[in-house]
């Protein structure tokens, strides 16, 4: 082990503080140091993950305050897996954007990389913390850095997108805070395990209201309908890699927070109508509106929202198979969607509007990127033999075990829609003639960017042809999420409960 | 005595008979038509003279391979159809391919010729031939439907597709034209189109298409077409006789029955003007189709 979970949060914060100072001396450092930090975080979380796979869940108490008094970081098979994915994706995004817009001047680059780092740190924090208020703080960190990143480009409508995001974000923060207040007023504790242990002592009405406020508070990050109005704008206006980071990292954190709340905090077992309903509505609305988009990134954003809806549906089934399928979906989406965003932003590099019609015949000019984009599109629309197929299949089988015919039918119909709009883009990309009047002038992709794309594509192919390479880990994670008592015991084994 | 040579001999004899009878009937029809129209008309052996003349001609030009093979195709279908149709009831005379005969095979081998004809005349590049061919094919689609319905009705009723079995059935159980009348009516109405006399002579419409497919063909080509036409006519007549009139046990009976059948389209043709193509098709999909359905129902119910 090269460190403890707390480094995952401490190091980036420290670096975020130091980078401007070092940047005064050595300008290039603002690009490099975040990369080093993210690489370190990746290595750290990976090694931690391998460690806990052998030795079981690892709970770290901060500053010696034992749970439930102190804040503790829980690094379990589930959280470890998610943290590893997130840090890895963060590193990929950095690798991609290391020379991205190398014309961007020093100040902007500094802000960009610092906020990117904070985004990853906050998301990891959301995942590994064991304390709801701490989680709230991390959500706010993610939120603020996300607003800043969304508003990165000064020339465009990015400020508008960021402002919408901000309104929704702060409203949701208020809701989350209210929920936390209710829980605290009822149980007098903020520790998740503690709450989970004593949830049945809570007045049922307060419990439901608290749950509602939690859902609303986290729902904005998790992009559930109708709280996701900001998402397409933010994805569209933020720089391409940031879009990748949102869909690969932030949303996952939001989904995790919601699921942890439902499964562990309120210890609901069995199918959860609320998640299924919300997920289905989100799925349908998002995918159908994706069909009619003129802008590439906006289409990708809607598709990403729809995928998250599907993930919620899968979680909502509440069974082992369902949770497994949901985690599989999250993993695949975390790999595929960034690939789409990153390659897409190479394709539409020289345009600010990102219209789909502007990439007409681009494959003639930049074939490799186009092929990678097509690979991502085929994979996300669930065509075998790529990774998306297996997750979709596991979702369907999970639904079939529960006899949810309607869900199966809906998911398949939605998949047809997905295929249609992705193939429209592929057609434009490959089988139309490039003409200067409509298409943007191609931009030569950078070396590091191509490496990032190739890593993602390789992962897609690996999971697609050999799904067994990841299913084992996902299985452990699903067990970990479903087994609430183990979680409680693990966390509270250090100190005994306040409430005897 | 089922040797190969015997078969071939019988086949050739059959062909010669068919050729002679066919040409004679054609001549007679010309004579009768003339008389009805109050003309004198040529002698009935006129066609033999024409055939002889054409056969002895030497053609100086040709338009390519398909023009040679087209009439040959035509001849193949004519001869094969006459070979698979039992000419007389007992197989000792004319021992051809009768006992392997099959109505569906017959239907297909009969249309084989028109396609060959179409190809042959197609290469001559004469627009009239192509127009005539398309008309002919369209009309064929028209009359095949009631014709096939009649056949299907008969086949279903007697649970066989073999002409020989049908003949045996008629030996015992009377003629089919009485036992299944609707099929007979449908068949006869379809026959009007099959023989291509007016009003269904839209294929080789004289004075309109310059005799259609056969234009640009002279000498041996025309002879082949003419003789194949006569053989074909005989084959069709014999088929009708076998199907509906209980076959024939000797040549005299055969001639009588075939001539009786032959009168129907000819006399109908003399008094009626020519249809347009779609009119012809619609005609066949009117009453004949109706009788075909009746025949099917009749075959299924009784």
């Amino acid at each position: 082990m090269v460190g403890t979970p707390v480094f995952l949060i401490a190091i980036p914060l420290l670096a975020a503080f130091l980078i401007p100072l070092i940047g005064m001396i050595w300008k290039e450092s603002v690009r490099i140091i975040p990369g080093l930090v993210l690489a370190y975080m990746t290595v750290l979380s990976a090694s931690l993950y391998l460690f806990i796979l052998e030795n079981g869940t690892y709970v770290e108490t901060i500053a010696g305050w034992q749970a439930p008094w102190g804040i503790d970081l829980v690094f379990s098979p589930l959280t470890g897996l998610l943290a590893t994915i997130m840090t890895f994706m963060g590193f990929i995004v950095w690798l991609y954007s290391y020379r991205f817009k190398s014309n961007v001047e020093f100040e902007a680059a500094k802000k960009y990389f610092i906020f990117l780092m904070l985004l990853v740190a906050g998301s990891v924090g959301i995942v590994i913390t064991g304390d709801i208020f701490n989680q709230f703080v991390f959500i706010e960190i993610v939120g603020i850095s996300a607003y800043a990143l969304t508003a990165f480009y000064t020339g465009r409508n990015s400020a508008e997108a960021a402002f919408k995001y901000l309104i929704m974000g702060s409203l949701s923060a208020s809701a989350l805070l209210i929920a936390i207040i209710i829980v605290y007023a009822q149980l007098g504790t903020l520790n998740m395990a503690e709450i989970a242990a004593n949830i049945d002592q809570m007045n049922v009405h307060y419990r439901i209201i608290a749950m509602i406020f939690f859902i609303i508070g986290i729902g904005v990050e998790a992009e559930i309908f109708p709280l996701n109005g900001w998402a397409p704008d933010a994805y569209t206006e933020a720089p391409g890699p940031v879009g990748g980071a949102f869909s690969g990292i932030v949303v996952k954190a939001g989904i995790y927070a919601m699921v942890r709340m439902m499964f562990t905090l309120f210890d609901i077992s069995g199918p959860m109508k609320i998640l299924i309903v919300i997920g289905l509505v989100t799925l349908i609305v998002a995918e159908t509106s994706a069909l009619r988009q003129e802008k590439l990134k906006r289409m990708l954003a809607y598709s990403s929202i729809g995928q998250m809806g599907l993930v919620l549906v899968a979680f909502g089934m509440g069974t082992k198979a369902g949770v497994f399928a949901a985690l599989f979906l999250m993993l695949n989406h975390a790999i595929i969607k960034p690939l789409l965003f990153l390659s897409g932003s190479f394709l539409t590099f020289n345009t600010t509007e990102k219209y789909i019609s502007q990439i007409t015949g681009m494959a003639k000019k930049m074939p490799v990127v186009s092929v990678l984009f097509a690979l991502g599109a085929l994979a996300i629309s669930g065509l075998p033999p790529f990774s998306g197929f297996w997750s979709k299949l596991s979702v369907l089988t999970a639904a079939a075990d529960e006899n949810l015919m309607l869900i199966i039918a809906l998911v398949l119909i939605i998949s047809v829609i997905e295929i249609v709009y992705y193939f429209r883009v592929i057609n434009r990309l490959f089988f139309f003639e490039y003409d200067e009047s409509v298409s943007v002038k191609p931009h030569k992709p950078g070396f590091n960017g191509m490496i990032a794309l190739f890593i993602l594509a390789g992962l897609i192919l690996l999971i697609g042809f050999y799904p067994a390479s990841v299913t084992g880990y996902l299985d452990l994670a699903a067990d970990d999420l479903l087994n609430t008592h183990q979680y409680i015991d693990k966390v509270l084994q250090l100190g005994q409960s306040i409430i005897q | 005595m089922e040797s190969v040579g015997y078969h071939i001999l019988g086949g050739i004899v059959t062909i010669i008979v068919a050729f002679t009878v066919g040409l004679t009937y054609m001549g007679l029809s010309r004579k009768i038509t003339a008389r009805i129209q109050n003309r004198k008309g040529p002698p009935f052996y006129q066609n033999f003279i024409d055939a002889l003349k054409l056969a002895s001609k030497e053609s100086a030009i040709h338009h390519g391979f398909m023009q040679h093979s087209g009439p040959a195709f035509l001849m193949v279908s004519a001869i094969l159809s006459v070979l698979v149709i039992p000419v007389l009831n007992n197989g000792n005379w004319f021992p051809n391919l009768n006992f392997h005969g099959d109505l569906i095979f017959l239907i297909y081998i009969m249309v084989f010729g028109s396609l060959g004809m179409a190809l042959g005349s197609g290469q001559t590049g004469n627009p009239n031939s192509a127009i005539g061919v398309t008309r002919g094919l369209s009309q064929m689609v028209g009359f095949e439907i009631p014709w096939v319905m009649a056949l299907v009705a008969i086949m279903v009723k007697y649970q066989t597709t073999s002409l020989v079995d049908l003949l045996e059935v008629q030996q015992t159980g009377g003629w089919l034209m009485f036992s299944s009348p609707f099929a007979f009516i449908a068949g006869v109405l379809a026959m009007l189109g099959m023989f291509r006399y007016s009003p269904f002579d839209i294929v080789s419409a004289p004075t309109e298409l310059a005799s259609g497919p056969v234009s640009e063909n002279g000498g041996k080509y025309l002879f082949t077409m003419m003789s194949s036409g006569s053989i074909f006519a005989f084959a069709k007549l014999v088929l009708y006789v076998d199907l509906f009139l209980g076959g024939a046990s000797n040549l005299i009976e055969l001639l009588a029955k075939t001539f009786a059948i032959y009168m129907i389209p000819m006399l109908y043709g003399v008094v009626s003007p020519r249809y347009r193509t779609e009119q012809a098709i619609q005609y066949f999909w009117g009453w004949p189709l109706f009788f075909g359905f009746l025949a099917l129902v009749h075959a299924l119910v009784f």
């Binding site: 402002f163 919408k164 309104i167 929704m168 859902i215 729902g219 109708p226 709280l227 109005g229 109508k273 159908t288 509106s289 069909l291 009619r292 988009q293 065509l383 075998p384 369907l396 079939a400 199966i408 998949s415 249609v420 193939f423 429209r424 057609n427 490959f430 089988f431 139309f432 799904p467 | 078969h7 030497e58 100086a60 040709h62 390519g64 040679h68 093979s69 193949v76 698979v84 391919l97 569906i104 095979f105 297909y108 249309v111 028109s114 396609l115 179409a118 001559t124 192509a130 127009i131 061919v133 398309t134 597709t161 310059a210 640009e216 082949t224 347009r276 193509t277 098709i281 999909w285 299924l300």
Partner: protein, 615 residues
Amino acid sequence: METILTIFIIFIAGTAATYFLGKLNGVLRSILFLATLAATGWLFFTGITPESGIEFRILGITMGWGITPFSYIFAIIVMGLALLSGIYAVKAMEDEKNLNFFFANFLLTVMSMMGILFSLDLISFFIFWEIMTWSSYFMVVFTGKDVQKVGIKYILFSAIGAYAMLMAIVFIYSFTGSVLIGDFIDNFHLFDTQMQWLIPILLLTGFGVKSALMPLHVWAPGAYSNSPMSYTAMFSGALSKMGIYGMVIVLILIVQQIPNGYWIKEVIAWMGGITAAMATLWAIKQDDAKKMLAYSSIGQLGYIIVGVAIGTPLAMLAGLFMAVMHGIFKSTLFMVVGAVERQTGTSNFTEVTGLIRKMPWTFLAALMSIIALAGIPPLGGFIGKWMLYESLMGSNHYLLIIMIFFSSTAAFLYCFKFLFGFFLGQEEKEWSHVKEAPAMMVIPMLILAGFAFLLGIFPGLILKPINEGMQFLGYVSTTNRFWEMSIIFNDWGNAVVMMPIFYWIIGVFVFFLVFLTIKGYKTTRYVSTKDISTSGEIPKEHENLTFTMGFMQPFLRAVAPVMKRQIDKYYTSIGNGLEALFDFTRRINTGNGQTYALYFVVFIIILLLFKDSLF
């Protein structure tokens, strides 16, 4: 068995090599492509024996690969056509751009079809099915002509079919806990009635799309005519047979087990009949050879579906035999069109005329396969049609006979149109430069035409493996009952002897050919088709009297009432309606931040209202 794995490995490696090394050098690309096909073909025809397979597990699901006597029939079609049309494609496509993509996709399609036939479980079946779908999709849009319209239509229908199939597969998996086709068939009678009806219908939807059954066929004309002809030869010849393959399995092994399941068969048979009739009419209407052949393919598949849906031994024999025959002659015809288009630059009847002396070998292939298509003896098409009629009569489908007969008689119209339009008629100055297609393109056509001829005389050659496959499906052996090398019996025991008839045909034909051309090439001389007398006057050099415009117009006028409305229109209107609806849903996100805040509050209220039902 290792041979199967070896075949797949060779395919994948060949695909990758063709794609990447193919960029370097055209010759290398062609060599790699043909080498892959040849190696796999050799392995298949020598190394594969039926009734052998392997098993493995993915995601805890047991899967298996192997080959059965039944799928062996189709595998023969696929491999044979792939080899021949591959040779054809190498020459035909030589002037096109990014060919490495084309050939890699070609190999991918062949591999996926072999995979479909090799897979003994539904999951790998579906995986290969989808690979086939998207790889063939890329071929459909390869030429870049109206990509969005045709391509999206194709992928949309394929996706609908495939996902209907996937739904059925998922149900099966959740009910039986296994995806092996064998287990599914064995346990099918355990399902509840609703499932017993739902699953076959879903599966048949999936297969019906690929085999262009009537309500689901609208993708076919565009797709067939839009992809390169050298690929369409396999697309229509082999790829559509995958639908037939699945349909046979479902209808024979699954639907048999349903009480009153024969209704499904009847409905499918009637749909097949209607498909045959309507597609034939539309084929007559077309002026573009590709479109015409596409519709004709739909019609022919209609016959095949009728055969397999009736399902009596003779009908099944007929259906499978016609499947093989259709694979042979239809791919030949598509190749012919490809050759004509390559040499003249157009595939439109109204433009090309009188090529017979320019491209005689192509014409020969076309003639043979047209005769086979029209079902005229002695070529193979007749055997299939004959058996189909006999079986229909034996199983009391009288109206169906009339329908089939109508369509196959009407087929003569477009058959003649095809031959006349391209090869006959007056020879044009415009096409005087046209040369015969190169040998690499002509030889595959002639080989296929030869097969069509051979199977006409010796149907037993292909009927033997079909018979074994049918025994695998549970039929009693039909040897000596329905067919021998040259005798065919029908249900009622009547026989048609092929050999003497064939001898007579040849004899008479040759005799009259000699009679007509005796001294022919000594005395008679060839004159151009301009040298004719039409109503007494000689046409000038520049004026073309060939009759091409409004071909078959009278017939079309007669059948106009049934052709008035097309299904395509209805689908289009439905699609437009849906698009409008979706355009509304996206407007939920009005760009106004305050509205989102309002949604926020409304959402809270809704949740509070429905909290009892939701939590």
